[in-house]
Symmetry: C2
Subunit: 382 residues, 2 copies
């Protein structure tokens, strides 16, 4: 049985001082329902991806909160968490729920309200995605963890600092057309070089921002989805884990969980990296996108930067990546995985602001923490 995406909705990403977590969740959910021409009573299950509302806003029990505020009780409401991969984790569990035969039409949302706690609070809370005993307790932050990966990669493969900057430059350029982006301005390699150093070699413009936002998708059985005009099908789903702490990895220049999740998704979908027309990858920091190219099989090991130098992954290239601007223009952590799947859905429907011509197969890649969780989904249209 196939499972199809029949509705999508997302809030603007940014600093939402006048909206609460529940407001954002409900706004995204209502948009998804509207896009499917449905009402809440058509939905028989709710899945929510959220990383850390317990610390961000003092609230756990997120899925019940979302069901309650949207007037969707008494449907089953489930929260899934795997740090910044929480959104796609919820998506995969919702997909399983439909395949299990226990659900027919499910809403999958992701949400995060990160700004209420302030920047210092946010950075500390995000370290809940790393290893509390061995990383955060000694003062490591996420920019620090990815800086270690960047150092190792630059040393091993001779990546230059300005080549790394091509990632955020491309993604900011794509983000200009994204009406939901937190940042809609282009940047240059010089801008990156002039931005403050956060964790050597990563500078401010290498880092994804602290973002409030929510996104929602409606998933349905084939029997339901086939009656919609442009259903987008889940062709492959992969998920894998790795050590929580970076020091337990054999090497820092690849994410084993991404490789494994991609392999699972490709096998299920019966396609390879060469068949992907458009992709969203987890560019939480510039280095992450280059490593993702290689983990996903788009480029050979150590050759990821060539895709940037050739503009392969820019609009107009052979396989545009992060056509909405990626995490670089907004990263509401629990919502990010859903937002990525929405962009791929738009691409396959031919409705994206930066439309890739005739896109048929798309991939979304979502990472938790420094790679202890990764999920890859492959979507396709008929």
């Amino acid at each position: 049985m196939r499972v199809g995406i029949i509705g999508i909705g997302q809030t603007k990403m940014g600093e939402h001082w006048s909206k609460s977590l529940r407001d954002l969740s409900t706004e995204a959910g209502a948009m998804a329902l509207k896009s499917a021409g449905m009402t809440a009573s058509d939905i028989d299950g709710l899945f929510i991806g959220n990383m850390s509302a317990g610390r961000f806003v003092g609230q756990e029990h997120l899925a019940a909160l979302a069901a309650d505020h949207a007037g969707m009780t008494p449907i089953p409401a489930t929260r899934c968490e795997a740090a910044c991969a929480s959104g796609s984790l919820a998506f995969r569990k919702a997909y399983f729920a439909i395949l299990s035969g226990h659900h027919k039409i499910v809403m999958v949302g992701g949400s995060e309200k990160m700004t209420d706690i302030g920047a210092t609070g946010s950075v500390g809370t995000l370290m809940g995605a790393g290893d509390q005993e061995w990383e955060s307790s000694i003062g490591l932050t996420f920019p620090g963890l990815y800086a270690l990966m960047a150092q190792a990669y630059m040393e091993r493969y001779g990546l230059q600092r300005d080549e790394l900057s091509l990632v955020p430059v491309k993604n900011h350029a794509h983000g200009v057309k994204n009406p939901y982006a937190q940042f809609r301005f282009p940047i240059s390699v010089q801008d990156v070089a002039a931005s403050p150093l956060v964790a050597d070699p990563l500078r401010l413009l290498d880092c994804s921002p602290i973002t409030d936002g929510a996104a929602a998708i409606i998933l349905a059985t084939e029997d339901v989805a086939k009656h919609f005009e442009k259903p987008v099908w889940v062709a492959g789903s992969g998920q894998a884990s790795d050590t929580l702490a970076l020091h337990d990895r054999e090497e820092l220049c690849r994410l084993r969980a991404s490789e494994k999740a991609a392999q699972m998704a490709y096998i299920q979908a019966g396609v390879g990296p060469e068949n992907i027309d458009v992709a969203e990858v987890h560019d939480c920091f510039s280095i992450a996108e280059i490593i993702a190219y290689e983990d996903l099989g788009f480029a050979k090991r150590g050759k990821g930067k060539q895709m940037l130098l050739n503009k392969d992954t820019s609009m107009g290239g052979s396989m545009p990546v992060n056509t909405d601007g990626g995490l670089k223009v907004g990263h509401p952590v629990g919502a990010t995985g859903i937002k990525q799947l929405i962009e791929i859905t738009r691409q396959l429907r031919g409705e994206a602001p930066n439309q890739v011509k005739d896109a048929k197969i798309g991939l979304a890649h979502n990472v938790g923490g420094s790679g202890a969780t990764a999920l890859v989904h492959i979507l396709r249209r008929d």
Copy 2:
């Protein structure tokens, strides 16, 4: 296709000052593997129920943590959260994962390390299960929420204070034989009456404790499980949601989510309350067990106390409830739902310390917060 339980393991519940969350999770998981005669490499997926490790110990990304510490990477690892119903929520999602065809043998664990943060910190953290904007922000605690339910119930149905005490008296009596219990001593109605008032009418001995602990179950496809000596089958699974805040409910003397979840589970299992031989119900506070009798259809509305007065739900009664002592003798919130399912599994295998003679069908009922989430599972043996 049927899904069967083939392995169980749990830590002692209590104040584990010398063990971390990851130690407890791994201990329970190793016991479950041992009981199934398996090793970690036999498991193809991990699900973890945990309520609030982000606040209890500064750690999110719990499932990756558990997979990592147990040497189970790169298998997919998923954390589910619905406050105190997180354990059975993870169980249901693992059940769906197997039914979906994407998994064959899955470990489902629950864990919580509640004591590190101190009693005041714990009470505050637990309020993450309630409504942050409308309940915790005005000073309500969980004893307070259940005290409001107790007040309403006593007023409406004429329940006497000493009748309420029959719940913890029964559960402590059952807990004496439970080697994993945090408390293994009997108490009397007089002891309850003499214990400090926490939130009128609830006294200290009406309240479940703050507990560290973990529990794990191994679930498998019928093809795998049928080769085990005493497989226990998932016959029915139900889940429902309700308003997060108590003030949004039509009445306080019932949990609509419990009623709905029970209805789903009974229909799937093709049985009714009269067919249940043994049950674990969510007795976080004394009043909760009486309300559960009624929500689950064991007793008519307002008549729950009769089961206690008749000793129906005591060992030797017509349908013993909380034969391991229930939450009253240990409530490691994320692990509780798994611990309940383990007790029912032991009963159906004929291996419980307080064994119910010839138990064939058992029920486990797990509640999140003040009832915004409820799950009911019905297990049976061949």
